[in-house]
């Protein structure tokens, strides 16, 4: 089966999406370093744990509609 190129964040963000938490992920997008209600909390948590280059994203239930799309 052809492997998809996509970086699939749907599963890893799901537990955090209803509260719209900020989430720090590792470079493979498979491990959560930390989460919090503000980006500053998450940055601090990463710093405290010596993590230098986290990927930080705000988890949402719906990313459609950033550019015009169906709602």
């Amino acid at each position: 089966m052809k492997k998809e190129n996509i970086i699939d964040l749907t599963k890893i963000l799901k537990p955090y999406a209803n509260k719209r938490l900020w989430v720090a992920l590792d470079s493979t997008y498979s491990k959560v370093y930390g989460s919090g209600e503000t980006i500053l909390e998450v940055i601090e948590e990463c710093k405290k744990n010596g993590i230098k280059k986290p990927f930080i994203i705000r988890a949402e239930e719906n990313y459609s509609g950033i550019a015009p799309s169906l709602i």
């Binding site: 970086i7 980006i39 280059k53 994203i57 949402e60 990313y63 459609s64 509609g65």
Partner: protein
């Protein structure tokens, strides 16, 4: 440089696949949507604060989205990386952005690189203009 699309949750169709190129900021990597329709590049005001900026001290500009809604953005020159390459450019910071994702507009990304979308392979590629 090639960047894979990101698959994100959607209420419309379970998920949406979007061209994202992470921007390297001092706290780590942050997802920015590649938006050829945007004149300028934007980050949410919250990201400006995380970078230590006094967001509203920047150059104030009124901008208008495709829906005609106006919002205020404050432009600041920031240091960032794209795929490890370092740059200093102006980003608009606004508290009224409809998303927490950053936006790569034509001002930075498209001026620096040939931007090639491969929607079938779900890849966005940045090429030097000097490349054949």
């Amino acid at each position: 440089m090639k960047f894979r699309y990101h698959r994100l949750p959607s209420k419309v169709s379970k998920y949406v696949d979007v061209p994202i190129i992470p921007i390297g900021l001092k706290f780590g990597l942050y997802p920015c949507l590649v938006d050829s329709g945007s004149d300028y590049s934007f980050l949410h005001g919250r990201i400006g604060e995380a970078l230590g900026l006094n967001v509203e001290d920047g150059e104030e500009v009124e901008i208008m989205g495709i829906t005609g809604n106006k919002m205020t953005a404050y432009f600041h020159k920031i240091h960032f990386t794209i795929g490890g390459w370092e740059y200093n450019e102006n980003f608009g910071f606004s508290y009224k952005l409809g998303t927490d994702l950053g936006i790569w507009g034509r001002d930075i990304l498209f001026n620096k690189y040939k931007v090639i979308f491969d929607q079938k392979k779900k890849i966005v590629e940045l090429k030097d203009y000097t490349d054949a």
